[in-house]
Structure formats: structure tokens, C-alpha cells
């Protein structure tokens, strides 16, 4: 590994300042599961790692704070803690399930929520250091290559899929991300945090240089029933072949509001608004679920080796909708005092 310095900041502001001082040669690091491997593979070459875990106790960055109006999760909360948190598991099951489905127990013990959301693509070509768009090149090798795991939506010009499991869950829950940077802080909706390659092909989100994803806030949703369904190509330690995050607010068995977001199909968590609209105001039946499945893949533009993702997504959406609607999951509304 190339030489690098570890820096332990004292506060979020200090961390931002250190990143700025690094002049592009410093990188923020949380659990390290992604970035450290990238450094070993020469996919990233920071001189300074600003270790955010030094901030665990400050700025509430490792806190899970359930409240009556919202749930706040610090960016440094590990996936293991998030998935095991009783309030999260009961009120925002999709988030607990998504966090618990990532990678392996060892990784979940150190991987942070912010790191999971900001991890780089796991496209084979990117990870093998092909000179693709993401590495400053001028093409996407997956488009004509081994694209079985690549995007069927939103692909051009890069066809990566967003690898985070937590991301579709948070988009489905209408979460907001608080970003802290040199210019202060700003809050963006989860759906607007992730960006398509046609906007900026070199990155996957709107984080500015030296900006840090500090925490995530999820609004309370009365009558919420939610789940995360992930299809893998082995049962552990793969990113989603495809996945769906479903968040249904129910009222007398009718869907008042639906969040339907796909993973593993696009360079961003892929919200299917047409399906959300379809479900609104209706009770989930076999035929409605089938229609939702069909609508979810409307407009898909698969590559030669990932056509199978189209029926896969269609079936997954239909099956997950039916099982969630019929699950009898307790849509607990109120927080215990």
C-alpha cells in the first residue's frame, strides 16, 4: 500500500477543515471497508485519511435518535447497529432489513451508514481499473462487455448500478440527508442526493469536494409497513442483483402513500413513481401487484447480457408487494414515551 497518514479530527468542522487543507489529497473515511480496498488496488490514492470514527462521540454522528416526528441516524452508525436497533426494526423495517442485508457480519460491524451510501460502484470494470468514465476515461466498458450486473435504467453514458442497500430504503422512506462542508451545511432529499451519470459521470452523488454526509433523517410515517427484498447471486457478500425497497403507508388496507425504489438496476436508487402513483388509494390485490410489476419495468433498456433483470424485477416487485400487503406487519405509529 502507498504511504498515507491517518488523521483523527476533533469535530465535524475540524474534519472538513482537514479535508480542505488536503487540497484534494485527503479523503474522509468511516469503516474503511470500501476505501481501504480501493487504495490497495490503486483505485484511490489519498495521502491523508481523515478518520471520521474519531468523531464517533461528537456531533451525534454515531447516534440513533428515534422521535415522534422523525428518526435521526448519524452517518457513523454502523450497519450492524442500525439493523439491530429495535425502533428502526419495528418502525422502519425496510431500513433495518436493507442494512442487515449488506455484505457480511464483519463488514456490518464497521461499515457506516454514510459509507454505505457513498461507496463507489462495484462494477467489475471499475474495480479492475479499466480506463472507464469513472476513472477519467471516455467510455463505459460494460456497455459492450460483461454487463450481466449492470444497469437497465438510467444508464448512459456509464452503466454502473448503485451498490448501496440502504440507499433504496432511504429514498423509499423520503429521508433527508444533512451534508456538512466548507460552506456550511445543507439538507437534500435522499432522492436528490444520488446523481445520474448523465449529470456527472465521475461521481454518484452530489457531495461537493470536502463535504461530509453527516446524518440522515427519516420522517415518521403513520401506518407504515415496509420491507427490503434483495436478490443475490450467492447468499452472502454480494451486492444486489436486483432489489426493491417498499414502504407502504396503509389506511384500512388501502395504500395511502407508497414508496417503491429499485436497487441494482440503475446508477442511482431507482424510484418508480409510476408504480407509487398506481398504488395510491388502492388495496393491494393479485392483479394490482401484477400491474405494478409490469409498470416497474416499463421503459427498461437492458444490455445484451442483463435482459433477465427485466422479468426478475417484474416478478420481485409483484411478489414483494403481495407478501408485504399480506404480512400483517405491525404498522406501529406511535413511539413509546
Amino acid at each position: 500500500m502507498r504511504p498515507l497518514a491517518n488523521a483523527n479530527p476533533e469535530s465535524l468542522a475540524d474534519a472538513v477543515e482537514r479535508l480542505e487543507r488536503g487540497g484534494g489529497r485527503a479523503a474522509a473515511i468511516g469503516g474503511g471497508s470500501d476505501l481501504l480496498g480501493m487504495i490497495k488496488d490503486d483505485l484511490a490514492s489519498p495521502d491523508v485519511l481523515v478518520s471520521l470514527r474519531a468523531l464517533a462521540a461528537s456531533d451525534g454522528l454515531d447516534a440513533i435518535v428515534p422521535g415522534p416526528a422523525e428518526l435521526r441516524v448519524g452517518g457513523l452508525v454502523t450497519l450492524a447497529r442500525l439493523s439491530a436497533h429495535p425502533e428502526v426494526a419495528s418502525r422502519y423495517r425496510v431500513l433495518a432489513e436493507a442494512a442487515g442485508s449488506a455484505a457480511t457480519p464483519q463488514i456490518r460491524n464497521v461499515a457506516t451508514l454514510a459509507g454505505n451510501l457513498c461507496q463507489r460502484p462495484w462494477c467489475w470494470y471499475f474495480r479492475q481499473n479499466f480506463p472507464c468514465y469513472k476513472h477519467g476515461g471516455n467510455r463505459c466498458f460494460s456497455r459492450t462487455g460483461e454487463n450481466q450486473f449492470n444497469a437497465i435504467f438510467g444508464g448512459a453514458p456509464s452503466y454502473i448500478v448503485h451498490p448501496s442497500d440502504a440507499a433504496p430504503a432511504l429514498v423509499a422512506l423520503d429521508a433527508r440527508f444533512r451534508l456538512v462542508g466548507p460552506g456550511g451545511e445543507r439538507v437534500v432529499p435522499a432522492g436528490a442526493f444520488f446523481t445520474l451519470p448523465r449529470v456527472d459521470v465521475t461521481r454518484e452523488n452530489v457531495l461537493e469536494p470536502n463535504e461530509i454526509l453527516a446524518d440522515v433523517t427519516v420522517p415518521a410515517a403513520p401506518g407504515l409497513r415496509s420491507t427490503y427484498a434483495k436478490v443475490l447471486d450467492r447468499e452472502a457478500w454480494t451486492h444486489a442483483v436486483v432489489s426493491v425497497a417498499l414502504a407502504l403507508q396503509l389506511e384500512d388496507d388501502r395504500v395511502r402513500r407508497a414508496g417503491v425504489v429499485l436497487g441494482g438496476v440503475a446508477p442511482v436508487p431507482w424510484r418508480v413513481a409510476a408504480v407509487e402513483d398506481l398504488l395510491a388509494g388502492r388495496a393491494v390485490t393479485e392483479s394490482l401487484a401484477a400491474e405494478a410489476g409490469r409498470l416497474a419495468v416499463d421503459g427498461a433498456r437492458p444490455l445484451p447480457k442483463n435482459r433477465y433483470k427485466v422479468p426478475l424485477v417484474e416478478n420481485l416487485v409483484r411478489r414483494t408487494l403481495l407478501s408485504l400487503a399480506g404480512s400483517g406487519q405491525d404498522p406501529r405509529q406511535e413511539l413509546a414515551p
Binding site: 500500500m1 502507498r2 504511504p3 498515507l4 497518514a5 491517518n6 488523521a7 483523527n8 479530527p9 476533533e10 475540524d14 482537514r18 487543507r21 488536503g22 485527503a26 474503511g32 471497508s33 481501504l36 480496498g37 490497495k40 488496488d41 495521502d47 491523508v48 485519511l49 478518520s51 470514527r53 450492524a80 455484505a103 457480511t104 457480519p105 464483519q106 463488514i107 460491524n109 464497521v110 467489475w124 470494470y125 479492475q128 479499466f130 466498458f141 459492450t144 462487455g145 460483461e146 450481466q148 436478490v231 447471486d233 450467492r234 447468499e235 452472502a236 457478500w237 454480494t238 442483483v241 447480457k305 442483463n306 435482459r307 433477465y308 422479468p311 426478475l312 416478478n315 420481485l316 411478489r319
Partner: protein
């Protein structure tokens, strides 16, 4: 210029300081130094296995690096260095983490515990005891990580369910695939049956491995754990091109870097690695380079970071050449010539023609057939992916070389090393105390061994060469991919009339081993033509991997046979009973023939007759189906040696085994104890060192028990004669007697084979494309089973590994660039705890009077029928056959579309 940091005041020479010299205060802020001059360092205080330690570390060191290299706790292993395998699992404040993916500085102020901390003053932890009794470790390389993961599961949930155990251990890969054993041990379920059908006093008794304690405590020393004074670390620069001429190579900058001791390239090293290619000269550094991963240069430096930096400073000018990946394409006119003389590798007689086996006349047979099936099967490059990457430590004392290396055969490795280095064999000592699997890619010597030796000579100091996980996937070898075109015909009553195979094996650019496609010989058939072309391609080199020519070949032929049976509406088991081989190639009688018994007993036990229904008759999204397949593997006899030394009443058994994970050492000790009428506890095995052990055939071809076992029995006869002859010389404890034997037993013109029949039920999710193995029964005939406990582990592991080959694994190449895109455990989708079903194992034990106590072999047979059985079950469930491996969701859904 650096900003002010206490780091800059710390001496950079002493890696680890005494616990008292430095306070544990964190380094001051503002460490924005440029790392160009000396790598930034920090002083940290952490608790390791309960002991508080203050150490100075380089900021870039991983926790694994600190623990292994600087705290000398080598029980923690590095299998991938990327958080993809789990071998490096330790606890950080009680939680399991991958220590390869944590920086050591991040452990400041925290508590680390490793496998060495599990045993309490020599008393094993209950989990360690359960792993010993339940045969958890095979090769043992993943075991420390498995233990640490299991420890966390049990700490969180004192009485976990099976699901909780599997979930908790999901991040720990075991390539020996002993998942069933690990889970059972954690659940406190002792092995069910551990006795052979007809046990003798030691042979036939299920015994824990004689070295099991070493394997569960981290005490077992693997090559990577060897550390010598002044030792340098080496790395290999590899070609990024599938085929290119090296126009220029400039190593000047690398040589001038501080801490660099030696640089080798083709310009200063023209050593030929003869066991790396049996037909063409394969240099350690080739020009042209012929596959991505072909070594271009090697560097030895003061530490591995310096070696890596030096690699990056080597400038290589490549002139890319055309390349070809597919074996059939490689034989097309106009294809780029990879080796002089063309891409068809020559036969033994030197002719550039396919290997042909023929009996009868297939055209006559097809004319006589009522049903003819013509199909093509495509199998892929399948990486051995053993947990321990190839590594070597070379140390010269004058003209004498000592080489620590994970090899399946110390004798062969020494012979090859000496030959390639131009030394008399006695000038080379090869040591392999423990090795972390291999499955065929640690046969004989590897280029890494030679490179380490040459670097050490050049550097004038010991050198440790470690292949990275990616190096190991690309630079060693995997199973050869094949294209198999079959035509088979049978009469209406199901009797086979003719089988024809035209097959192509992609060997990569070197002929390292056979390249056959085996399996047709499992069937009796009057007319057979098998034509196989081993072809040079620009993929990574392919050679031996567990049952080398069989799993892919048996998948092809057994799928075709299943199809023939289907078209004739005959139950596959009945079809097999009608067409089973009775003599090898319908010609050479077997010493014993239990294939029919495997099939009938297995079918009964599985309930085949009641469960089999015609293919494609299931409906619904989840469709279940059953499948079966058979397999055989040669259990030949041959030359090997053993020395028995009786001293002080104790029996010392000197055998040149290394124990790749099969429990070979234990089996050898059992055979010796049985032959001498002693207890297993009275036998000490001396192994794995050419200075202390006689010739051994090597642990390849599943030969150890039959070859070396024979030598033990013969030496024991001699020793007993000596004991009788010296009977009057006082008590046995006072005599030292030595016997040795190097027999060459023969088979009297017979064929000797182990047999197997496998039965499985799978569930295919026709909507999501997933295949789940619900039930698996492996019926095996391997003669008498020497150690039923460890033999059953072998079968469970072989089957599980085969399931991975069937469902997940493939080294995938980008067609445009010829670069592999998924080397490593993450990309290869190697089986995990969550993928591994329970494998039921049964042995049939005839005694053919040929092997030691009638023993045959167990290592390779289990993987042979697996892909075929699963493929046939998928066909039975869905009515669709997947003719390209692996059977991933994309292929399942496309087949069903």
C-alpha cells in the same frame, strides 16, 4: 515540507517499541504531511488478548499486518487482504471484524482478540474442542477466522439456531467447504456416525486429526507464517495484456529505490520453469507475455510496501498482439499463433493432432439407434481458490537452498526445483509444515518457488514471496474450460449404441497438465469415439483442479445420458443400471465394482422411485426436481516410501506427506498403528520436510493413502520381523529399530476405481431464476474407509465445492480486451455458509484386497458427479436444460424464457 507532527520525531526504524517507552496519547492534529520521504507513523496503545501494548505503527499498516508481522500472532491468516474471505477475522472490542480491512491506527485505545487468546492457559475453548471433535478444520487456513466468528455468535446468543450460526458465520469462506462440520460443531452436534461398516482396531475408526489442536489454536505454521532474520519481501509484476511483446523494460528507477534488494526480469533471468509447461519452454519471465497475469518482473525489498512501490517504478513498453480466448476460435485459420507450431497442443507422440480414443464404429451405432441426441456443453475456467495463496520463503546457506512452500508434494517440488536451478537434489530442502488447501494447484513446484529462490540468491538474504489473491487467481491455474459437442444414440429399450464426443479444452498458453474431458468411460457402449483437443488460448493457465478432467466431462456426458433417457421415457436410474460400465472402456476388469451398489443403495435411501417424475411436469413458480449422476476416479497403486523408526517404545513414522487438508497425516498414522498393533497415540508422524522424510508420491491424484499407505504396511512387516528377531535383546523400549520400504505394487492388469452415485433435489424459482439445493445424498465406494470422520468431511467438502462450480463460479473475461474482470472471492461467488446445504454421505466398503486394508481414495471423487446431478435436477424441475456453466440467474431465466 511537513507540518509539525510528533510522527516526524519518532524513530522510523523500530517498528514495535517496548510497552513502556511511549505514552498512548494520540498524535497531534494537523498531520497533513507529504508521505514522500518516510511513511507517516503513529504510536498507539491497544489491548491484545488481554495484554496492553504500546506500539509504533506505520499509518498504512492494516491491523492484520500489525498482528501477524509485528506482534508475531500468526494464527490470524490473510486469505484475500480485501475483506472477502474472513480468514483474518479478529474481535475488535468484542465484535468480529476483518483485520485486513482495518488500519492498525484505528485500533488505538481498543481491545483486539485473536485466535491465540481463545485457549485459557492451554485449556481449549469449548468451541475449539468442538472443532477438534467434529472435524471442523480441513486445511485449517480459514479456521481461526471461523472460530472468531463463531465465538461472537455464541457470545451474542448462547444457544443459537442453525440459521443464526450460518448467518453469523456468513462472512467466513471455507474453500475446503467443510461448512456442515463447522456449523454442527458450533451447534454442539457431534458427528453422527464415525465408524466404518467393518472397522479394524484403528483403521476404520473415526478419529480426530492428530494435528487438530494445532489447527484450532493458530499454532500450525503455514509458509506465510515463516519469518527469518533479515528476510526481504517479494512481489511480482504481471502483464496487464493477454498477449503482447515486451519492447522495452526499464528497472533502473526500481533498483535505485531505498530498500530494494533485487529485481529480476527476463533480461537477467532466463530460468525455465519446466513443470510449468510440458511442451514449450516456459521461462519465469516470458516475452511475449501470453495471458493477463504472466510474470514480467519480480522485486525483493525491505518490506512488502517497498516491494509494491518498486513494482510500480518498473517501466514496461508493451506491443499488444492479437489474442484469442475461446479454444475453438483458437483453432480457426488465421487465429493468432500463441506458441510456435500452432494452437493445438501436441499429443504425447509429438503430433499436433487431437487425442483420440475409439472403439467400434460410431456411425454404425447411430444407424442402429432409435433415439439420437446431439448437444453442446460449455464449461468455464473455475479457479481453485484455495484459502492460502501461493507463497514461498527461500533461504540460501552457501549453495544449499531451503524452501518453505505450500506444496502438495515435497519430493516432486525438490526434484523440480533442483532441476530448474541446476542443483543436485540434495542441495535443496523443501519444507511444508502446514498448507492451506490447493486442490491441484499446489502440485510440484510453482514459478513462485523459483522466483523466491532466485531473488534470495540475488539479494543475499532470505526472501518471502507472497502472491496476492488476484495473483493467485490469475498467476497459478484453475480448471480448464471446455466445449463439448456430443452425439449419443440408444435403442428403444435404453441400450446405448454409440457415443461421440468432439471436445476442446482451453489450456491457456501453456500445457501444464492433461486437458482431457473424461466421463464417457462410465458407460458400457459398443461404439465410442472421443476426440479431445487441448488448445492454447490467452486465458490464464488451466491445469489440475480436483478430479481434473471429470466434473466438467461428467456434467456433459451425464446431461446427454439424462436427455437420452428422457427422450426414451426411461427413469434415469434404470437407464444407468442398463448402461453402467462393467469393465474400464468395456475392456479392463475392475478390482471391485460397486458402482451398481452405489446406485441402487443410493436410490433406495433417497427414495428415488417415489420422487422421480418425468421432467417438465411440475407447475408453479417454485418447481422442485430430482437429479442423479455417477462418477469414478482411478485408485491406482504405485511407488512411494515410508520409514518406520521404533525408539523408546514409540513409533516414529517418516512420510513425505504435507496434508493438504485431507487428514493424510492422520490416515498414515492410523495405517501404521493398525499394522503395528499399536494405539494411534503411540505414533508420531514426521512429515513435510525433505531432509527428514523419504520420497513421497505427492498429494495429487488422490494417491497418498494407496501409494504411501502401501509403503507403510510393507515397512511395518519388516519392522515386526526385526522386532521378532531381536526379541531376546531386552524390553522393546530399549531397542531402536528402523524399517523402510519403497514398494511398487501392481494391479495384475486390472483397473482400480473408486465409485460414486449422487442424488439431489433442487428447487428452481422460475420467476427469480434462483436454484436452491434442498437435499443431497452422496453414495461413495472408496474401498475400506481409513478414517470415516475425516473421509466424510472430504465428501461433504467436495460436493459443496461442486455446487459452487454448478451454480456460481466462473473466471469471466472481457472479450474485447482479454482481461479477466472478476478475480477474487467476491467476484468468483465462492460458496458461503449460507449457500452450503447439508450433504448426506454414505460409504459402501468392499475389500478388493489391493489397497492398504482395501482402502481406495476419497479426495477427488466427491466433486465428480455434482454439476451433472444438479443440472439433471434442474432439467427435471423445469424441463429446460442449461448447457453453459455456471447456472446463474441470467442463464436460468433465459432458459425458461
Amino acid at each position: 515540507m511537513k507540518s509539525v507532527s510528533r510522527r516526524t520525531f519518532l524513530k522510523s526504524s523500530a517498528a514495535v517499541t517496548a510497552a513502556t517507552t511511549l505514552p498512548s496519547a494520540r498524535a497531534p492534529l494537523g498531520a497533513q504531511s507529504s508521505p514522500a520521504d518516510s511513511p507517516p507513523r503513529s504510536t498507539i496503545t491497544l489491548t491484545v488478548n488481554g495484554v496492553r501494548r504500546t506500539v509504533e505503527v506505520e499509518d498504512r499498516w492494516t491491523l492484520a499486518e500489525l498482528i501477524r508481522d509485528h506482534l508475531d500472532l500468526t494464527g490470524t491468516k490473510i486469505g484475500c487482504d480485501r475483506g472477502e474471505c474472513g480468514a483474518c477475522t479478529v474481535h475488535l472490542d468484542g465484535d468480529p471484524v476483518y483485520s485486513c480491512s482495518q488500519l492498525a491506527v484505528w485500533a488505538d485505545g481498543r481491545a483486539v482478540s485473536t485466535v491465540e487468546g481463545l485457549a485459557d492457559s492451554g485449556r481449549l475453548d469449548p468451541l475449539q474442542e468442538a472443532f477438534v471433535a467434529g472435524d471442523g478444520p480441513q486445511c485449517g487456513f480459514c479456521t481461526s477466522g471461523q472460530l472468531m466468528a463463531a465465538r461472537a455468535v455464541v457470545a451474542a446468543t448462547p444457544n443459537p439456531t442453525e440459521e443464526e450460526v450460518r448467518e453469523g458465520m456468513a462472512g467466513n469462506i471455507c474453500r475446503c467447504s467443510n461448512y456442515n462440520r463447522y456449523v454442527a460443531a458450533v451447534l454442539g452436534r457431534p458427528p453422527e456416525r464415525a465408524t466404518a461398516r467393518d472397522p479394524l482396531s484403528v483403521v476404520g475408526q473415526g478419529r480426530p486429526r492428530i494435528d487438530a489442536v494445532e489447527r484450532v489454536t493458530g499454532a500450525a505454521r503455514y509458509t506465510g507464517d515463516v519469518k527469518l532474520p533479515g528476510m526481504a519481501y517479494a512481489r511480482v509484476l504481471r502483464s496487464p495484456h493477454p498477449h503482447a511483446r515486451i519492447a522495452a523494460i526499464d528497472t533502473r528507477r526500481a533498483r535505485e529505490m531505498p530498500g530494494v534488494y533485487a529485481v529480476l526480469t527476463r533480461e537477467n533471468c532466463d530460468t525455465v520453469w519446466r513443470s510449468g509447461d510440458r511442451q514449450n519452454p516456459r521461462y519465469l519471465f516470458n516475452n511475449p507475455v501470453r495471458f493477463v497475469g504472466d510474470p514480467v518482473a519480480a522485486v525483493a525489498a525491505v518490506d512488502r510496501h517497498a516491494a509494491e512501490a518498486a513494482l510500480q517504478a518498473i517501466e514496461v513498453g508493451y506491443e499488444p498482439l492479437d489474442f484469442v480466448l475461446d479454444p475453438e476460435e483458437a483453432l480457426q485459420p488465421g487465429a493468432v499463433e500463441i506458441q510456435p507450431g500452432g494452437n493445438l497442443s501436441r499429443r504425447r507422440d509429438g503430433e499436433a493432432l487431437p487425442d483420440v480414443y475409439q472403439r467400434g464404429d460410431v456411425e454404425t451405432g447411430f444407424d442402429a439407434a432409435d433415439v439420437v441426441v446431439e448437444e453442446t456443453y460449455v464449461s468455464k475456467h473455475h479457479s481453485n481458490a484455495q484459502m492460502e495463496p501461493r507463497s514461498a520463503v527461500a533461504h540460501w546457506e552457501g549453495d544449499r537452498l531451503t524452501l518453505w512452500t505450500p506444496t502438495q508434494g515435497i519430493s516432486n517440488c525438490r526434484r523440480d526445483m533442483a532441476g530448474d536451478l541446476g542443483l543436485p537434489p540434495e542441495q535443496v530442502r523443501v519444507v511444508c509444515e502446514y498448507m492451506g488447501g490447493g486442490f491441484g494447484n499446489k502440485n510440484q513446484c510453482q514459478d513462485a518457488d523459483l522466483i523466491a529462490a532466485l531473488l534470495a540468491r540475488e539479494a543475499g538474504r532470505p526472501v518471502k514471496l507472497e502472491l496476492t489473491r488476484k495473483d493467485d487467481f490469475l498467476g497459478v491455474h484453475g480448471r480448464w474450460p471446455t466445449v463439448q459437442h456430443y452425439k449419443a444414440g440408444a435403442a428403444r429399450d435404453g441400450t446405448l449404441q454409440a457415443i461421440r464426443l468432439r471436445g476442446y479444452s482451453g489450456m491457456g498458453p501453456h500445457r501444464k497438465s492433461g486437458g482431457g474431458i473424461a466421463g464417457i468411460e462410465l458407460f458400457r457402449c459398443p461404439n465410442v469415439r472421443r476426440e479431445v483437443s487441448p488448445v492454447y488460448t490467452n486465458m490464464t493457465v488451466a491445469a489440475n483442479f480436483r478430479g481434473p478432467a471429470y466434473p466438467q466431462g461428467v456434467w456433459g456426458i451425464e446431461s446427454v445420458m439424462d436427455q437420452v433417457a428422457h427422450e426414451l421415457s426411461i427413469d434415469p436410474v434404470d437407464f444407468h443400471l442398463r448402461n453402467l460400465t462393467r469393465a474400464f472402456n468395456d475392456e479392463t476388469p475392475y478390482t471391485s465394482w460397486a458402482l451398481r451398489e452405489c446406485l441402487t443403495e443410493g436410490a433406495d435411501r433417497f427414495g428415488w422411485a417415489a420422487r422421480w417424475r418425468r421432467a417438465g411436469t411440475r407447475a408453479g413458480p417454485l418447481r422442485r426436481g430430482v437429479g442423479m449422476a455417477i462418477g469414478m476416479f482411478a485408485a491406482r497403486l504405485g511407488r512411494s516410501s515410508a520409514v518406520l523408526r521404533l525408539e523408546g517404545g514409540r513409533l516414529f513414522l517418516h512420510v513425505g506427506v504435507t496434508d493438504i487438508g485431507t487428514a493424510a497425516k492422520t490416515a498414515m498414522a492410523q495405517l501404521a498403528a493398525e499394522a503395528m498393533g499399536m494405539d494411534l497415540a503411540d505414533v508420531t508422524v514426521v512429515w513435510g520436510d525433505t531432509d527428514r522424510c523419504p520420497y513421497s508420491v505427492g498429494e495429487s491424484g488422490s494417491r497418498t493413502t494407496t501409494h504411501t499407505g502401501h509403503a507403510i504396511l510393507e515397512a511395518a512387516e519388516d519392522l515386526k520381523r526385526q522386532m521378532a528377531a531381536t526379541d531376546g535383546d531386552g524390553p522393546i523400549e530399549s531397542r531402536t529399530l528402523i524399517a523402510q520400504a519403497t514398494p511398487e505394487p501392481v494391479l495384475d492388469g486390472l483397473a482400480r476405481y473408486a465409485s460414486a452415485a449422487h442424488f439431489t433435489e433442487v428447487e428452481v424459482d422460475t420467476e427469480l431464476g434462483g436454484i436452491r439445493v434442498l437435499e443431497y445424498l452422496a453414495m461413495h465406494e472408496s474401498g475400506r474407509i481409513v478414517n470415516p470422520l475425516t473421509a466424510e468431511s472430504q465428501v461433504k467438502g467436495g460436493v459443496t465445492m461442486g455446487i459452487g462450480m454448478a451454480l456460481h463460479e466462473e473466471l469471466i473475461y472481457d472479450r474485447l480486451t482479454g482481461i479477466p474482470v472478476n478475480p477474487g472471492y467476491y467476484g468468483a461467488r465462492v460458496m458461503t455458509h449460507l449457500d452450503a446445504p447439508e450433504i448426506e454421505v454414505r460409504f459402501i466398503e468392499p475389500d478388493d484386497a489391493y489397497g492398504p486394508y482395501g482402502a481406495k481414495n476419497v479426495g477427488e471423487p466427491p466433486i465428480i458427479p455434482v454439476v451433472a446431478a444438479i443440472g439433471n435436477a434442474v432439467f427435471n424441475a423445469t424441463g429446460r436444460r442449461i448447457r453453459e456453466l455456471p447456472m446463474t440467474r441470467d442463464r436460468v431465466l433465459e432458459a425458461l424464457a
